[in-house]
C-alpha cells in the first residue's frame, strides 16, 4: 500500500497543476484511466480484470465536465484532509460532508463515481485515501495482526479475540500479519454460517481463518484475504449459496470485478469455490427452491461473461440451467445442525 505521505504528495501535485493552469489563464484538463466497460479487459495471464490503455479527459472548459471536475477536486482535497488528520471516512460520510463545503452531488452514487475517478486519476485506491465503503465483513481465526493506524501503532490483535469475529475496517485492513497457525482461509457467504463455524470450533478442526463475506466481498475484505494468501501463503476456499449469485461472489474474489478493475492487489486467482455446486444439491439431497426469472437471466449473463469462459464454469452454469433449482448454505441443516461441519466441509476441503 502507498503510505499516507506519498499519497498526500500525489494529491498536492494534482492541486499545484490545477492552480498553475488557472493562474496562467488555461483551463485545467485532467486525464484519467478510462474505466468504462469498453476499456476493461480480462487479463488471461493474471486471470483478473484490469483496465486497458484508454484514457478519458476531464476538461474544465467543457460545460458537461466542469461540475464533475469541481467535485473531483473537492474529493481530492477531502481525501487530503483525511490523510493529514489520520482519519477515515465512509463513502456515505463523504457524500454528506459535501454539503458543508458547498459541493453538490445528486446522490451518493454520483459521489461514489467521483471517488472512482480520483482513484483512476491518482492510481491510488480509495482505501489508501482513507475512504471506505459502509459495509463491513468479519474475520475470525488463528492469526495475529499488528496495527499501523495512528494511536494503535505496534499494538497486536489476535483475530480470535471476539467470539463474534472482528469487523474488517480500515484499521485491520492496514494491519500487518505477524504470525499465524492457520493453514487455510475459509470465506463464507452468510453470517449464519460464519457463526456456526466459530461455535462448532470448525476453525480449529480445519485450521482455518474464517471470513464472513456478507454478499459480494468489500474491497477491504478482498485485500485482507489477498494478504493472507500472499504473505502467509494460505490457500483460499470460498463457500457460498448454491445459485448464480453465490457462484459469482467466489468468481469475483478470484478474478475481480469491473468496478474495481483499476485497483490492484485484490484478486486471488488460485482461490477455490467449494460450493454449493449444482452437484452438491443432488449429492447431498439439499432442500431447494425454484429459480426465478432473475436467477435464470443471471445465468444467461454469466454464460457470456469472459470470467466464465473456463470449461468448469460453463459446466456449472449448464448444470444450474438444467436443475432450475437453487439451495442456500443453511440448507445442510436438514441433515442436522452440525452436518455441514461434520460431513460436508471435510469432504470438500479434503
Amino acid at each position: 500500500m502507498t503510505n499516507p505521505e506519498s499519497a498526500t504528495s500525489i494529491l498536492k501535485d494534482l492541486g499545484s497543476r490545477i492552480v498553475e493552469d488557472i493562474e496562467n489563464g488555461r483551463f485545467p484538463i485532467l486525464e484519467l484511466l478510462d474505466r468504462r466497460t469498453g476499456n476493461i479487459v480480462f487479463n488471461d495471464h493474471s486471470q483478473e480484470f484490469i483496465l486497458g490503455a484508454s484514457h478519458v479527459k476531464r476538461n474544465s472548459s467543457n460545460s458537461r465536465h466542469v461540475r464533475s471536475f469541481s467535485q473531483l477536486v473537492w474529493v481530492a482535497s477531502f481525501a487530503k484532509q483525511l490523510l493529514l488528520a489520520n482519519r477515515t471516512s465512509s463513502l456515505r460520510d463523504l457524500y454528506y460532508s459535501s454539503e458543508a463545503f458547498g459541493v453538490d452531488f445528486t446522490d451518493q452514487s454520483e459521489s461514489d463515481r467521483v471517488v472512482g475517478d480520483l482513484e483512476c486519476l491518482t492510481g491510488l485506491a480509495r482505501e489508501e485515501l482513507g475512504i471506505f465503503p459502509e459495509e463491513r465483513s468479519s474475520v475470525y481465526g488463528k492469526v495475529t495482526m499488528r496495527y499501523t493506524v495512528s494511536g494503535y501503532e505496534g499494538k497486536t490483535v489476535d483475530l480470535t479475540i471476539s467470539p463474534d469475529g472482528l469487523p474488517i475496517g480500515p484499521a485491520l485492513m492496514t494491519a500487518e500479519p505477524v504470525e499465524s497457525d492457520a493453514e487455510i482461509v475459509l470465506a463464507v457467504e452468510s453470517g449464519g454460517m460464519f457463526s456456526r463455524l466459530i461455535e462448532t470450533k470448525a476453525w480449529e478442526r480445519f485450521n482455518a481463518v474464517l471470513v464472513q463475506l456478507g454478499g459480494q466481498a468489500p474491497r477491504a475484505t478482498r485485500r485482507l484475504m489477498h494478504r493472507f494468501h500472499k504473505e502467509l501463503g494460505l490457500p483460499v476456499y470460498v463457500f457460498t449459496d448454491g445459485d448464480p449469485w453465490g457462484m459469482h461472489i467466489a468468481r469475483v474474489i478470484m478474478c475481480g470485478s469491473a468496478n474495481s478493475a483499476h485497483v490492484r492487489h485484490l484478486t486471488i486467482p488460485n482461490a477455490k469455490w467449494i460450493g454449493v455446486t449444482p452437484d452438491d444439491i443432488a449429492d447431498f439431497s439439499l432442500p431447494t427452491e425454484s429459480m426465478n426469472n432473475a436467477d435464470l437471466k443471471r445465468l444467461d449473463d454469466l454464460s457470456r461473461d469472459v470470467r466464465y469462459t473456463g470449461k468448469d464454469w460453463q459446466r456449472y452454469i449448464e448444470e444450474f440451467r438444467e436443475l432450475r433449482m437453487k439451495a442456500e448454505q443453511q440448507a445442510f441443516s436438514r441433515h442436522g445442525i452440525d452436518y455441514v461441519v461434520d460431513t460436508y466441509l471435510p469432504e470438500k476441503l479434503a
Partner: protein, 510 residues
C-alpha cells in the same frame, strides 16, 4: 321627439312604407351599436373619439382629446368629447351632425369612421332618448368659433338648427356634447378598454377620460411622431359598383367617356382607358351620361373584371408602422414585444389592403393554446364578437404548437387591418367579415409572426441556457480554485473570473 317617432309609425300604414335613413337606423339601432344604454354610451364615446382622431390627423396635429362623462340622473348622462383638430367649416356643421349619410366625397382614403353614420346615430339616439339637441362648438382658426344646437328631423332626414351663436374656444378644434340615456356604470370598463387599445393603435394621441369631473384617466402619448399622412386617391376601377358609377356620372357625366374614366379612377391613363374601351367596343368620344342602362351595367361589371388595371395605390393607407406599433404595445401592456410584420399592400376588390401585426410575450403560463388576439381595423380597436371575425377564424387555422412557444409564456397578437374598405360584419364595427384576400393575408402574417416567435423562443432558451451555464461555471470554478489551492497548500485560491469570462466572450459575438 319620441312622439314624432311613434307618429311616423302610425302614419306609415300603407302596403309599402317609405322610411328615411334616420328612421331606418333608429329601428335597427342595435346593429349600429346602440341596442341598450350600456352599448349606447360606449358607442357614442367611440364615434366621437374616432372623428376627433381623424380630424387631428387631417390637421397633422398631435391629438389631445378630452372625454367627459357626467351623470345627470340615474339614467341620463351628458357626454362631451373635445379635440384640437381642424374644426369644422361653418356650413358643414348642420349636415355633419344632423343628417345621416352626409358627405359625398368620392376620394378614397383610410379613415377611422366610414360614412359619418356613427356620429349622427349617436346624435339621433340622444335626441330620441332625452329629447335634447346635440351641442357642437367648433373653431377653425385663432379667431372666433361657433356653437350650434342641432336636432335631426327624423322623417325628412334633415338638420334642425335650434340655436347658433358665436363662442370662443382656447384654440381650433371641436367640442361635441350629447345628452343620452346611458348606463355609465356598466359601460365604464368597456370605455377604458377601448381607450387603452386606441392608445396602442394611435400612440401619438393623448386622451383624457374624466368621470364626474374627478377620476381622471390618461391614455396614450407613447409616441410623439405623427403618422405619415395618407393621400386621398381616386377610386380604383375594380372597386366600382353601380351606385358609385351613378354618383360619378351625376357629377361629371357630361365629359367624354374616355375623359370620364381617366378623371374618375386611379390606374387609368389614356392608354389603359383606350385599351379598356376597345375591349368593351365603346366609342371613347361619346358623352359618358349617354350610355344606356345596359351599357352601364356592362361597364360596371367589366370595370371589376378587366385585368389591365394596375393594383390600387396604397398611399391612401395609414398603417400604425413598425416603430410606433411596437413601442405602443410595450408601453400600454408592459409585455416583451418580439417583432413586427406586415403583409401587403395587397388588393381586395379594388381596394388596397395592408395587414400589420405585432407579437408579444408575457411571463405567466397561458391557458390557451393559441395567442390572445387584439384586433384593429384602420386603427380602430375591435373589442367584441371576436370569434365571428375573419381574424380569429384565421388565427385558429395556424398550428401554433409548431412554433414551440415556451410553456411559461403568454403570447399576445396585435393585428391592424388597413384598407379603404373594411367589410364589417355589422354597422357596429366589431368584427371583420370573411374575404379570401384578408384571410390569406392574415394567415401569412400570423405564420410570419409565429416563425419569429419560435426563433425568439429558441434564442431566449439559448440565452437562458448560457446564463445558467455561466452560473454553473462560476460556481464550479470557485470550488475548483478553492480546493485546488488547499491541495497545493496555497493560502489563497487563484482568481477564476477572467477564465470564466473568456469562455463566454466568444459566445457573445455570434
Amino acid at each position: 321627439m319620441i312622439d314624432r317617432y311613434t307618429m311616423t309609425q302610425v302614419v306609415s300604414t300603407g302596403d309599402f312604407i317609405s322610411i328615411s335613413p334616420s328612421e331606418f337606423f333608429y329601428r335597427n339601432r342595435q346593429m349600429a351599436g346602440f341596442g341598450n344604454p350600456t352599448q349606447a354610451v360606449y358607442s357614442t364615446v367611440r364615434e366621437l373619439v374616432e372623428n376627433s382622431l381623424d380630424a387631428c390627423e387631417d390637421a397633422q396635429k398631435l391629438p389631445v382629446i378630452d372625454v367627459r362623462i357626467r351623470r345627470e340622473s340615474s339614467d341620463i348622462i351628458q357626454l362631451s368629447v373635445s379635440d384640437n383638430g381642424t374644426g369644422i367649416p361653418e356650413e358643414h356643421v348642420p349636415n355633419a351632425f344632423g343628417r345621416i349619410f352626409y358627405g359625398s366625397k368620392y376620394g378614397m382614403r383610410q379613415k377611422r369612421g366610414t360614412f359619418g353614420l356613427g356620429v349622427t346615430m349617436a346624435v339621433l339616439y340622444g335626441q330620441l332618448t332625452t329629447d335634447s339637441p346635440v351641442t357642437v362648438s367648433t373653431q377653425m382658426d385663432e379667431g372666433h368659433g361657433l356653437t350650434y344646437k342641432i336636432f335631426i328631423d327624423v322623417e325628412k332626414n334633415e338638420p334642425i338648427i335650434e340655436s347658433k351663436h358665436l363662442s370662443r374656444r382656447s384654440g381650433p378644434g371641436t367640442d361635441v356634447s350629447i345628452r343620452l340615456n346611458g348606463d355609465v356604470r356598466r359601460a365604464k370598463s368597456r370605455i377604458i378598454e377601448y381607450l387603452r387599445m386606441t392608445a396602442v393603435s394611435s400612440p401619438h394621441a393623448r386622451i383624457i377620460l374624466e368621470f364626474e369631473d374627478h377620476d381622471h384617466l390618461h391614455f396614450g402619448g407613447s409616441s410623439t411622431t405623427l403618422p405619415s399622412p395618407s393621400l386621398c386617391t381616386k377610386p380604383h376601377p375594380r372597386g366600382v359598383d353601380r351606385e358609385l358609377l351613378r354618383r360619378l356620372l351625376a357629377d361629371r357625366g357630361q365629359k367624354s367617356l374616355i375623359e370620364f374614366l381617366i378623371d374618375s379612377f386611379q390606374q387609368v391613363g389614356d392608354r389603359t382607358a383606350r385599351r379598356f374601351l376597345r375591349f368593351m367596343a365603346l366609342d371613347p368620344k361619346i358623352r359618358a351620361d349617354s350610355l344606356t342602362r345596359e351599357d352601364l351595367s356592362r361597364l360596371s361589371n367589366t370595370l371589376r373584371r378587366f385585368d389591365g388595371f394596375s393594383r390600387p395605390d396604397s398611399r391612401c393607407l395609414s398603417p400604425i408602422g413598425e416603430f410606433a406599433f411596437k413601442e405602443a404595445v410595450s408601453a400600454e401592456f408592459g409585455v416583451d414585444v418580439l417583432t413586427y410584420a406586415k403583409q401587403g399592400p395587397l388588393e381586395w376588390e379594388g381596394h388596397p389592403l395592408l395587414i400589420e401585426g405585432v407579437i408579444a410575450t408575457d411571463n405567466g403560463a397561458s391557458q390557451s393554446e393559441i395567442p390572445s388576439l387584439h384586433r384593429f381595423a384602420n386603427k380602430v380597436p375591435l373589442l367584441y364578437d371576436a370569434s365571428e371575425g375573419v381574424l380569429m377564424k384565421t388565427l385558429r387555422k395556424v398550428t401554433w404548437s409548431r412554433y414551440e412557444v415556451e410553456k411559461s409564456k403568454t403570447v399576445s397578437l396585435f393585428v391592424n387591418v388597413c384598407s379603404t374598405r373594411i367589410p364589417y360584419i355589422a354597422a357596429g364595427k366589431h368584427s371583420i367579415a370573411s374575404s379570401t384576400q384578408i384571410e390569406d393575408g392574415a394567415l401569412s402574417l400570423f405564420r410570419e409572426l409565429g416563425r419569429q416567435l419560435g426563433k425568439s423562443a429558441v434564442k431566449s432558451s439559448q440565452s437562458k441556457r448560457n446564463a445558467r451555464r455561466m452560473r454553473e461555471f462560476t460556481r464550479s470554478f470557485k470550488i475548483i480554485a478553492k480546493f485546488s489551492a488547499e491541495l497545493a497548500n496555497r493560502a489563497t485560491p487563484p482568481s477564476t473570473v477572467g477564465l470564466v469570462k473568456s469562455l463566454f466572450e466568444v459566445d457573445d459575438h455570434d
